[in-house]
Chain length 269, copies 2
C-alpha cells in the first residue's frame, strides 16, 4: 500500500488528523520511569497504547533518541515496533544530503528504524529527496517553518515568488516520481492557504500546534480538513500533559481535546 493511502486510512479509522510527536526526553518523563533501564520504551509504549485509536500517525523525533547514543537508537527501533502496523510512522530526521549519503540515511530510516515516511531538508534540491523515494514510503519536504529565522532564507523573494513557494512547486514536480508531502509550520495567516493552492491534495504536515490548540482554526481553515491531506502534529503538550503516573490518561485527554477541536472546525466547513 502507498504510504499516503495508509495515512488516509488511519485518519479515517480514528476520525483524526492528529499526529503525536514522540519527542521523548528522559529529563521530562516521570522520574520512576526515567530511572529504569527500559524506561524510555515503557513511556512510549504507555503513550502509544493510550492514544493509538485517536491518531492518524506518530512522528518520532530522531534527535531525542540520537542524543542518547546507541541505546537511544535501540529505543527508537523498539518504539516503532510497538506502533500498530496500520498507523504510519513519520520519522522526523530532516536530513539533507545527496547520493550515497542520502541512501544511507534512507537505509537508517526505513530498514533500521522501520519508518513509513521521513522529513527531508530541500536545500540541496531533488538530489536530496530522490534517494528517499522508495516503494510505499513518503518524503515530507520542509517548506515553510514557523521559527523566527525562517525569514533568513525561506521568505526570500525571487522573480517567481518566495523561496518556500518554489519549494512547494518543486514538491509537486517531485511527486511525479514518488510519494511526497511537505512540512508547513502554523505560521502567519495566508501562507498556508497559498501553499495549499500550490500543492493540491498533497499531505501537509503541520508541526507545533500546542496544548491550547489556538492555531487549529487557522490551520484547518487554510490547509483543509481532508483525511490524509492535513496532518496536525503535537508533541510535548501531549507527552508531558502530566508529570505523574497518570501521564497516559492525561496524554489521551489532551490529544482528544485537540482532535475534537479539529473535528469541530472540520464539521463547520
Amino acid at each position: 500500500m502507498s504510504c499516503i493511502e495508509k495515512l488516509r486510512k488511519a485518519a479515517e479509522k480514528a476520525d483524526s488528523l492528529v499526529c503525536v510527536g514522540l519527542d521523548t526526553d528522559m529529563d521530562k518523563i516521570p522520574a520512576l520511569l526515567a530511572s529504569q533501564k527500559d524506561g524510555g520504551v515503557k513511556f512510549n509504549e504507555a503513550i502509544i497504547r493510550s492514544t493509538s485509536d485517536l491518531v492518524c500517525a506518530y512522528k518520532p523525533n530522531s534527535a531525542f533518541y540520537e542524543a542518547m547514543g546507541s541505546r537511544g537508537i535501540e529505543m527508537l527501533q523498539r518504539t516503532c515496533q510497538i506502533i500498530p502496523g496500520d498507523i504510519p510512522v513519520i520519522l522526523d530526521i530532516k536530513r539533507g544530503d545527496i547520493g550515497n549519503t542520502a541512501s544511507k540515511y534512507a537505509d537508517f530510516a526505513y530498514d533500521i528504524i522501520g519508518a513509513d515516511a521521513v522529513t527531508v531538508n530541500p536545500y540541496m534540491g531533488f538530489d536530496a529527496v530522490r534517494p528517499f523515494l522508495r516503494e510505499g514510503k513518503c518524503v515530507f519536504v520542509l517548506c515553510l517553518t514557523s521559527n523566527p529565522s525562517s525569514e533568513d532564507f525561506q521568505m526570500f523573494d525571487t522573480s517567481g515568488g518566495c523561496l518556500f513557494e518554489k519549494v512547494a512547486s518543486k514538491a509537486v514536480e517531485w511527486a511525479e516520481e514518488g510519494e511526497v508531502g511537505i512540512v508547513v509550520g502554523a505560521t502567519r495567516p495566508g501562507y498556508m492557504k497559498k501553499i495549499r493552492e500550490i500543492v493540491g491534495d498533497m499531505p501537509i504536515l503541520v508541526p507545533g500546534v500546542g496544548a491550547q490548540g489556538g492555531d487549529v482554526e487557522a490551520v484547518i481553515g487554510e490547509c483543509g480538513g481532508k483525511s490524509g491531506s492535513t496532518v496536525v502534529n503535537s508533541s510535548r503538550a501531549i507527552l508531558y500533559a502530566s508529570s505523574e503516573n497518570d501521564f497516559p490518561e492525561a496524554a489521551r485527554r489532551c490529544l482528544n481535546d485537540l482532535r475534537d477541536k479539529i473535528n469541530s472546525v472540520r464539521k463547520e466547513r
Copy 2:
C-alpha cells in the same frame, strides 16, 4: 582552544589542507575485515594510523554509521576516540532543525560522538545554527554544493544576489556569535572566488575532490591556500585506494599525492 585554531595548527603541523572523509562502508572495505565483528573500527584505525601525520582534519560521515544502527553509532564513537586529540573531527551530519531538537543533535555530535565541528543545513536560518555554537566547537554551514540539483534553490536569484551568496553573508554575521565555517563544493569556476570574497578568512570546507585531484588548481586558486582557512576533503578515493590488505599504504599514497598537488599549487601562488 578554539576549533578553528586547532584546525589551523593541525594544518600547519602536517603541512596539509587535506581532510580525510571517513565514509566507511562495510560493503567496500576488504572482505577479511568486513567479516569481523569490529572490522569497521579496525579499518578506520588502520586508515587513521596510516594518514594522521598528513591531514588537517577527519570528517566522518554520520550516515554511513547510522545505516548500521546502534552498532554503527558505537563504531563512530570508537573511531573518533582513535583520532589523535590535536586533529579536529568534523562530523558530517548536515542536520537542519531548531530549538530543542537542534540542541539534542548538538549533544549527539559533541557529547556522544566527541566531534569538534559539525556540518549544518541553513534552510531554517540562524535558529538551526545557534544551538551548535558551543565553546571550542565550529559549525560548517552548507553554502553552495556541486550536485546538479543545487540549482533547484541555491542558485535562486534574489534582489541581493543568489541564495548561496545570502547564506555566505549570513554566515559572516553568525560568526560574531561563535565559530562558523561554510561548505562549498568544487563547482563552476568563479563561484568559490565570489564566496571567498564574501567570507574573508572563514574556513571553507570543500568536499568531493576526487582521486585525480583535477579540481585542485581551481579550488586553491579560488579559495586560497591558507592553513585552517581552506579544507579539502577526499573520502572514497583515499579510503578505497586499494581493496586488498595493503589499503592503509595505498590510502597514504593517494592522500600524499593530493597533499603534494595542493602544496605545489599553494607554492606557485
